[in-house]
Subunit: 261 residues, 2 copies
């Protein structure tokens, strides 16, 4: 299959990681759009020969596949302003935005949502990564599937509602989890202890939850209803009312759930 | 250094994992105590020639190092009942129990707390694992350090208060995190989606937090103050009041914290 030339709209973490991964697997980037040309140039400097533009009129572009890598709030507005060559496919990359937010008369559109946490300074591989796909036409679906496979990612077709639920579950599993790592680090720092002490524990927790299922992997004082230990923990947290509230709320949740022991 | 014979008091996950790891690195288990002889025999059946006992009088034992692997609530009571050979060292393995809970007149005592989550069905390696040590005498300290090194673990001397704080931070980083994995799985199951979809995300979150530090690794709608997405998530959680409350509380915490972006 011949792959179309691609243009990327946006200069954030996803634009950066997606464009590099596209080129690494042999796809070609024609243009990169950014309001901030400095940021756009910083990204294209790592690409083969992508042109920088701050104009949303792509009527003369050689690309026919356009990836919207902008913040969720900006997706619909930018999609409205975009002028694309006839026969192009427009794609957004958001977990929380319905496919129809970028609906266009007489043109194909789709969703390409890679389920990963992207940070500027950190290389991310798409190999084996689930990419959630949805599209307005069978041809656009097939194209997105081929792109995902070209990236060695795992294509996964789902509805906008399923994708939003997946996005919500990812917030618990990633963003909230990382916030708890932060709280752990703060507690340790107060005692002059390094966060590194928790590395084996955190890695084993992440591995174990998939090997056994989280319902079989739970341990700790809340599960055992070890009230003496929980009281000691709460009194250590005495000055941090917000952490105390979280500790109590999550411990009750754990006790209310039907965990295997 | 000649290592003493060891006896283990208890038949839980830690007793099982510790005794097997001791033997795997060349240490010898003399006896295993359990009130439930069936459970004790299940453990000793995997050991070289450890004797099972349900008697806390060890005055005739050849062991001189005794590991208390019982629930935190039982530690002090069982330590009181134990009769040990002269010159023995008694050790507990709890993160949340002070050293002094097992203080004995004229005898050495210590703490050996491996910072890991132990589940019956899952093999755990002690290689590189931090083991928190504390002891009443220099000789007992040295002995526990040698035992940790023999296990290829990472010995780490700290006070009872530091250990309790470390235990608290481990509850956030492991138990609460696993509970969030459970919530994620429940949200996905409602949509007919497999938990496995989150594997790359969860693994990358655990790796990234150590490579960048959790304060630099945070992402997501709360950090970006993306209120539209947060409102969509909250309405998806409509029927789960407890998850909604957690979502709001943790999102505000994330917004109040000074994260790098």
């Amino acid at each position: 299959m011949a792959f179309p030339l691609i243009s990327i709209i946006g200069t954030g973490n996803l634009a950066q990681h997606l464009s590099r991964n596209f080129e690494n697997c042999g796809l070609r980037i024609a243009e990169l759009y950014g309001r901030n040309l400095q940021k756009a140039k910083a990204i294209t400097s790592k690409l083969y020969d992508a042109r920088v533009t701050s104009d949303l009129d792509f009527s003369d572009s050689e690309a026919s596949l356009f990836f919207l890598c902008v913040s969720d709030e900006a997706i619909a507005d930018i999609a409205d302003e975009l002028v694309l060559p006839k026969g192009s496919v427009l794609v957004h990359c958001s977990g929380a935005t319905p496919l129809e937010a970028i609906a266009r008369d007489g043109a194909a559109y789709g969703v390409f949502y890679p389920l990963q946490t992207f940070t500027a300074s950190r290389k991310v591989s798409f190999e084996g990564l689930p990419v959630c796909l949805e599209a307005s036409t069978d041809e656009a679906e097939l194209l997105l599937e081929k792109i995902a496979i070209k990236l060695r990612a795992l294509p996964y077709f789902m509805s906008s509602e399923q994708r939003l639920c997946l996005h919500l579950s990812a917030v618990f599993a990633c963003n909230f989890t990382n916030h708890f790592y932060r709280i752990s680090k703060d507690i340790l720092q107060d005692q002059g202890l390094p966060f590194q002490l928790l590395k084996h524990l955190i890695e084993e927790t992440a591995r174990k939850t998939f090997d056994l299922g989280p319902e079989n992997a739970q341990t700790g004082p809340a599960l055992r209803s070890d009230n003496a230990t929980m009281q000691k923990h709460l009194s250590l947290l005495g000055n941090h009312e917000e952490w105390k509230a979280l500790y109590q709320k999550i411990s009750s949740d754990i006790q209310a759930k039907n965990y295997q022991v």
